[in-house]
């Protein structure tokens, strides 16, 4: 795999040349510091831009064109990562070696830029028809957040932790925020988004990258120079004593979330040692300490999961279980974390965790989307590339993990209590 960077005045193209895949994958990434009040409109805009355009005024027209381009896929997604908001226009297309048409590469590469740079605008407003469709869908998405027990418990837990923190904000925005958006205000935001967002393009495939970047630079007319940078990390404050919140839920199981601050954890620790720590504590499946304590030794649950929210300086443990088992589960989770902080980690556990992580690395290296995702954060935040991570994992010792464990500070214990058994 050959990594290369092509710099232009207003954007940069990052390429990975490889013959591993039959597909090519491209992401046009607009990113910036997240503003809570703009998350909803930004997400709305990305949806809107992928739905239709001046040339393809209905969704149907756009999908027909994608079918003509040999079943290409094009969609947009906005995500919030710590203090950053990243809006990706994602595009998958067949490698040109399978297509006889000599104009294919030019046509297929130009398509997403044609869409995002030429929205269906009349009199400085997005077209009403598409606007209504997207609005309805987003409002339904916001409403449906309550349908998923895990998502809902997380949202409530973070809201209770600190409703003003960007960590607690939903990328979808709120119903009230969406209701305020008009076709006119959305167009105003489109201009702001385009003019202010930092922009990179990532592409992986078996392509002549010199030719590819030339085509892209001709198709993409972004001429807005930006001079700012992003600050990716959120400083969520630790508490002296953990917050305990219990709310009544509408689900059969109780959903329990424990949130830990990662206090004064270095960047290197967050992106290397924490991953190994998490593998031993919870992410390593049935072999991990929390899994073993909750499921194997006490049969309290079917599964338990963890999230290293590095950019939010937080770590979460989540489990769905019966009401009567909640106290024991909390006790066991706290005990596992405490023991890790005391350095109760064997060399054997460390060795096993590293092996698991080496395999995971070798697996993700076979996946286009993972490679691009890794390259994205490497280029924006400076996180390690997959190919360098193995060496970094190798260097981690039990002492490093103990040091990581000491930086875990329990912030909250949140329970979304079961509604009781359904008759």
């Amino acid at each position: 795999m050959k990594y290369k960077k092509f710099e232009y005045d207003t954007f940069t193209i990052y390429t990975i040349q490889t013959d591993k895949f039959k597909n090519c994958h491209m992401e046009i990434t607009f990113y910036d510091n997240a503003k809570k009040e703009e998350l909803g409109v930004r997400n709305f805009l990305v949806d809107m831009l992928c739905h239709s355009s001046k040339k393809y005024p209905k969704r149907k027209d756009l999908v027909v064109k994608l079918e003509e381009l040999y079943q290409s896929f094009f969609y947009g997604v906005s995500s919030k990562v710590g203090n950053m908001v990243i809006s990706n226009f994602v595009y998958d297309f067949l490698n040109p070696e399978y297509i006889k048409d000599t104009e294919y590469l030019k046509n297929v590469l130009s398509f997403p830029f044609e869409i995002i740079e030429n929205p269906n605008i009349e009199k400085e407003a997005f077209d009403e028809r598409s606007f209504k469709i997207i609005k309805k869908r987003i409002l339904a998405d916001i409403a449906s957040l309550k349908e998923n027990a895990t998502n809902y418990a997380f949202r409530r837990a973070l809201f209770n932790m600190d409703k003003n923190s960007i960590t607690a904000a939903s990328v979808l925005g709120t119903k009230e925020e969406i209701d305020k958006i008009t076709p006119e205000s959305l167009y105003q935001y489109y201009r702001k988004f385009y003019e202010n967002s930092l922009c990179n393009i990532y592409i992986i495939g078996n392509l002549d990258m010199e030719e590819t970047t030339k085509i892209i630079s001709r198709a993409f007319h972004n001429n807005c120079v930006k001079n700012h940078s992003v600050e990716p990390f959120v400083d969520n404050k630790a508490r002296k004593k953990e917050l305990v919140v219990k709310e009544k839920g509408n689900f059969g199981q109780t959903n329990l979330v424990l949130g830990f601050n990662l206090e004064k954890m270095t960047r290197e620790e967050k992106f290397v040692a924490l991953t190994v720590f998490d593998e031993i504590l919870c992410a390593g499946g049935l072999k991990s300490k929390i899994y073993n304590a909750l499921r194997e030794e006490n049969q309290l649950c079917y599964s338990v999961s963890s999230i290293c929210s590095r950019y939010d300086n937080m770590y979460y443990v989540y489990v769905g279980l019966e009401d009567k088992n909640v106290s024991l589960a909390i006790k066991l989770i706290k005990k596992c974390v405490k023991e890790m902080a005391q350095g109760k980690i064997s060399e054997e556990e460390l060795k096993m965790a590293k092996k698991q992580l080496y395999t995971s690395l070798e697996i993700v290296i076979d996946n286009q989307n993972s490679l691009i995702n890794n390259y994205t954060f490497h280029s924006i935040v400076g996180t390690p590339l997959y190919e360098d991570l193995k060496e970094k994992y190798k260097e981690i010792t039990c002492k490093d993990l103990k040091s990581v464990g000491k930086k875990f500070k329990l912030n909250f214990v949140y329970e979304l209590q079961s509604k009781g058994e359904e008759k």
Binding site: D19, K20, F21, K22, N23, R59, K60, V63, V64, E67, E68, Y70, Q71, L94, Y98, R129, K132, I133, K136, R137, L139, A140, D141, A143, S144, K146, E147, N148, A149, N250, F251, G252, Q253, G284, G285, L286, K287, R295, Q299, L300, C301, Y302, S303, G320, L321, E322, M352, K354, K355, Q356, L357, Y358, T359, S360, E362, I363, I365, D366, N367, E422
Partner: protein
């Protein structure tokens, strides 16, 4: 060993029958590092009544037992689990149970021989006791309580129960809490000893492997095992009526807006003069054209703000074809009316057919891009046709507007089930 050329896309699948009993399919990809191995047992949640060869009486086992057995099979005689074994190589082992089969799979990037050997060893070595049955019972009950909290799962299984009278597709894969509570060690041993035999299994290995070495290893492994004779079970045939159980059922669930499924239940016999592979392709094209993102109906429903989501699919279940439309709507009555109207007036133009066929051909190439995807594709081929379909491109190119219209004419909207999951009052 047989080499099966996948026509038109320069791909090859290796096939061998190990010890004249277990088929193995291998797809080699030297550009990747990983190897994905899946050992599939033709024993799923629908297999609840069966007769062992030489016996007169049918055995009846509790619903959910295939899934229960899948959990137990990870325990090993030395007190460890299969997960412990794979941890030493950093490999990822897991399993899943469907209506029709159980699949044990391993994703490995090193020690391929050891990983594959152990897959065969732990699946083909029975070790069960009461203690582990009781332990897993509690875990499974937590699993099915968790599943109950997922609205889509509730809608899916309620809908299947509205479609099928006799087929066990009308029950959940995990069974109910009561089913799990009444499952005994003896039930587990009975189904294991009946169904877990190489003659009732197939193995698929995809990734960076030498097919000849893989076959040699698997042959040696199976040869060393002292396997009992296959009991050749006969599954009880269920005669499923052509009509649905409930035309319309409304249930309540954890949803903010109503979600629904509308299905046509079509006897496969109505289409017996059409090649079965082409029939599947034609149904996909019809569904996509009439209810997919390029359909006028979807545009209309979205424009009228009658739906916020719509998806359509086709599935082949024993003697029936299901054409299913799933949607989320605040206006169920109006949406149902529009869907019914479209089902009565299914259409496709020559231009649209050509474009969708070309897109499907591009998909054939794209299907061979990742080792898990190819493994799944082979599993689907074996479960649907009991062989690798090597001429999908030819079939796609053979599809004409006349053939599609012939199928459309035979689609009868009489047997339709509608299930609505409403918000709780």
């Amino acid at each position: 060993m047989k080499e099966i050329e996948i026509k038109g896309i320069k791909e090859k699948i290796y096939y061998e029958k190990i010890g004249k009993q277990m088929p193995i399919y291998i797809w080699k990809n030297e550009k990747v590092k990983g190897v994905f191995s899946a050992l599939c047992v033709r024993f799923g949640s629908i297999h609840q009544e069966f007769k062992i060869e030489g016996e007169n009486k049918y055995n009846k086992v509790p619903s959910g037992i295939a899934h229960f057995l899948e959990h137990l099979n990870f325990y090993e005689p030395d007190g460890t689990t299969a997960t412990d074994y794979y941890a030493q190589y950093g490999s990822e082992v897991n399993a899943f149970t469907t209506f029709d089969y159980t699949c044990y799979h391993v994703y490995a990037t090193n020690a391929i021989k050891e990983n594959l050997d152990h897959l065969l060893d732990f699946v083909l070595t029975p070790f069960f006791n009461k203690k582990m049955v009781n332990k897993e019972r509690n875990i499974i009950i937590e699993e099915l309580t968790m599943d109950k909290d997922i609205p889509e799962t509730k809608l899916y299984f309620t809908h299947y129960a509205n479609l099928f009278h006799k087929y066990k597709y009308n029950e959940t894969i995990t069974g109910t809490k009561e089913d799990v509570e009444k499952t005994t060690l003896e039930d587990i041993e009975l189904v294991y000893n009946t169904f877990y035999h190489p003659k009732n299994m197939f193995l698929i290995v995809t990734g960076n492997v030498n097919p000849y070495e893989i076959v040699k290893n698997v042959e040696e492994n199976i040869k060393e095992k002292k396997l009992p004779a296959y009991k050749n079970p006969k599954l009880k045939k269920m005669k499923e009526p052509t009509y649905v159980v409930n035309d319309l059922q409304e249930v309540e669930g954890n949803v903010e807006n109503p979600k629904m499924k509308i299905s046509l239940k079509l006897p496969i016999n109505n289409f017996k003069n059409i090649d079965p592979i082409e029939l599947r392709m034609i149904f996909s094209l019809i569904v996509n054209n009439n209810f997919g993102p390029t359909s006028d109906l979807k545009e209309y429903l979205m424009e009228q703000e009658l739906i916020s989501y719509m998806n359509a699919s086709r599935s082949f279940i024993e003697n029936f074809i299901l054409l299913t439309i799933s949607l989320e709507t605040k206006y169920p009555k109006e949406a149902i009316k529009a869907i019914k109207e479209q089902l009565k007036n299914l259409e496709i133009t020559e231009e649209s057919l050509k474009r969708k066929v070309n897109a499907s051909i591009a998909n054939l190439v794209l299907n061979y891009d990742d080792i898990m995807g190819v493994n799944n594709l082979i599993q689907e081929n074996i479960l649907s046709f009991n062989e690798i379909v090597d001429n999908e491109m030819e079939h796609l190119e053979n599809i004409t507007i006349e053939k599609v219209m012939q199928v459309i004419k035979k689609i009868d909207t009489k047997n339709m089930a509608i299930t609505i999951l409403n918000p709780k009052k």
